[in-house]
Amino acid sequence: MSVNLPELEGTETALALSGGGRKHSRIPGVDAMRATAGFQRGMLVAGVVIVLFFAVLALFAPWIAPYGFDDDRTADGKVFGRLIAPSSQNWFGTTAGGEDVFSRVVWGAQTALEVILLAVSISIVVGVPLGLVSGYLGGWLDRMLVLVTDALFAFPSLLLAIIVNIAIVGGTSSQVGGILAAAISITVVYVPQYFRVVRNATVAAREEPYVEAARALGAPKYVVMLRYIFGNVVQTVPVIATLNAGDAILTLAGLGFLGYGIEPSAGAEWGHDLSRAVSDTAAGIWWTGLYPGIAIVLIVVGVTLVGESLNDVLNPLLRTAKVSQVVLPERAAEQPE
């Protein structure tokens, strides 16, 4: 006899995530995958597939893109021409500058991936320790930092990134400089987020008995922070990092659209290409804007789907009930009612 027991919702998830009682995988993501069901699993898988697609595009850009990102002619010197409609030679057409749109979209994936990885890493490296120390030590420094991050939160992040970008760039235009500058500008937006999350978790963990016990044993402050608190407060970081990555791509594109971020000569950037395409649209030319735009939307959708599903899995208030088929043992025939 088998019945559906909706009351069992989440049990499986709790087990998979707690690591206690049930075998739990060392491969990152597998536990999360096991904890999802139905639509949620579909979202997660779709997101992962999209992100992997762009990762491949970025890694193998030199082989996938038929031309360089700012080439306006084929290898044997045949000029493409400006604003040519999509054809067999230029699959996505050419831009007003005579570059191949398809190649620029592919190279743009590389730029985006580089900037995002750098920006998210720097944000974590700066934000997490800052939150840990600030939350554990407290005092005026903590209050000051909280106030500063509050102020930064309330401000349009794009404007913040522009201002920092102006300050950093000051004339450099080499590719590494461009990507690093763009990444740092974006970092300013996300450091406060990691800081706040880790800081709040640290403040809560500070008074827990296990931390109290560590202190009572005479553990120095840094040991308490690194050995006892750190592992318990960084669990939300992967989710925030994923969601931020999507947001960071949009910020990068916004910067590019307004003429900041990556120098046009230093790399292909989707936002910059879109800003050039705005004037083309009035003449009915759609291919210069459509393809880079679709690339942005797709990659952000992919990253967001991954982040959202992870968030759903880790946030018990949103978790979907996974209805399990439970097989009950056969009842003894003469059991009294």
């Binding site: 639509f39 106030l147 930064l152 309330a154 401000f155 794009l158 916004g254 879109l274 735009g293």
Partner: protein, 346 residues
């Protein structure tokens, strides 16, 4: 920011504490912007790099930019305290003038965007929560993700391609046709709000012209915010639908539709109001991009214009003004939330 501690939970003390928080917030942003922009170097030099050095030095002196940085900072702070945001270097327009004229354009744009977002996002969020994990919810959640993932400038471009270029129904850019713009700017009092101006002018065709120009930018920006509202309403309604009092209503045999409408929906909206306050920044950031896409001459359009001319005094003034506006609006929204929901006051 609703975490302010007050000894008593009274509304008045909450408001005072909250108001006092506005000042350090603005101060931090003003300080940050001032010093970060000065890292680049002298504002006169960046704006007029082509002039001979003596001329640059003369203008520097005239603008007081050769004083020690800390003196400049202090006088700038004093000016900001009097809501004086300075004068643009390149075309000598006072920032207050830009706020009055172009601010009206931004206000018009963001107002219609929020109206659109509320009209679309809130009902859709409710439908999604009501049909959780079934077809409407799945579709609407994907819509929410898409609305978030699509940059306003790309959406604007697509809308233009479809409605302006292909169908020819709506204009490509601007706030009104040139001759309409000239005419309606002559009405007194000039509100700089084109819809009101055109109504004051009293020509139906002019009113229609202004409305036609507003639709695409408002939809482009509004959709971004609608996606945020949809997600907020959905999540909050889902959490409310799990609470004990809603369960109790169900237990009394009230139909699910009525439970959502009468019992859960209003309560679910309260936290949404608080979080909406935090979306002001997203709204204004989106407005900058929307204005640039549609050549909508608002504050954001002006900001990009001065950024392009490297007039960092104007940039500093506009950004500071935006900081003040954001701080005030989020204060107002927190006040509204506190009035509606007593729990916020603690």
């Amino acid at each position: 920011m609703a975490t302010t501690k007050t000894s008593s939970g009274s509304l008045r003390s909450y408001l005072i504490t909250r108001l006092l928080l506005v000042i350090p917030m603005v101060w931090i942003l003003v300080t940050l912007v001032f010093f970060v922009l000065r890292v680049v170097g002298n504002p006169i030099k960046s704006a007029f790099g082509q002039l001979p050095p003596e001329e640059i030095a003369r203008r520097e002196h005239a603008a007081g930019l050769d004083r020690p940085l800390i003196t400049q900072y202090w006088s700038y702070l004093k000016n900001v305290a009097h809501l004086d945001f300075g004068v643009a270097l390149t075309d000598h327009t006072p920032i207050s003038e830009i706020l009055r004229v172009n601010g009206a354009a931004t206000l018009e744009l963001t107002f219609w965007a929020v109206v659109f977002a509320l009209a679309v996002g809130v009902p859709l969020g409710r439908i999604a929560a009501r049909h959780r994990d079934r077809f409407p919810d799945v579709g609407l959640r994907l819509f929410g993700v898409l609305a978030y993932a699509i940059p306003v400038f790309f959406l604007g471009l697509l809308l233009k391609l479809l409605f302006s270029v292909q169908l020819g129904w709506l204009p490509v850019s601007g706030r009104a046709s040139p001759e309409v713009e000239v005419a309606i700017n002559e009405v007194t009092p000039n509100t700089h709000l084109y819809l009101i101006n055109s109504i004051l002018y009293g020509d139906n065709e002019y009113i229609w012209d202004v409305i036609k120009h507003t639709i695409l930018p408002a939809v482009a920006l509004g959709l971004l915010v609608a996606g945020i509202f949809l997600r907020l309403v959905r999540v909050n309604l889902l959490q409310t639908l799990r609470s004990d009092y809603v369960e109790a209503a169900r237990a009394r045999g009230i139909r699910e539709r009525r439970v959502v409408r009468k019992h859960a929906f209003k309560n679910a909206l309260i936290p949404v109001i608080t979080v909406m306050g935090l979306q002001i920044a997203a709204l204004l950031g989106g407005a900058v991009l929307t204005e640039e896409t549609f050549e909508w001459q608002g504050i954001g359009y002006k900001l990009v214009y001065y950024l392009g001319r490297q007039d960092y005094i104007a940039v500093q003034g506009i950004v500071t003004a935006i900081a003040v506006i954001v701080a005030l609006i989020s204060f107002l929204i927190d006040v509204i939330a506190a009035v509606i929901d007593p729990r916020v006051r603690y």
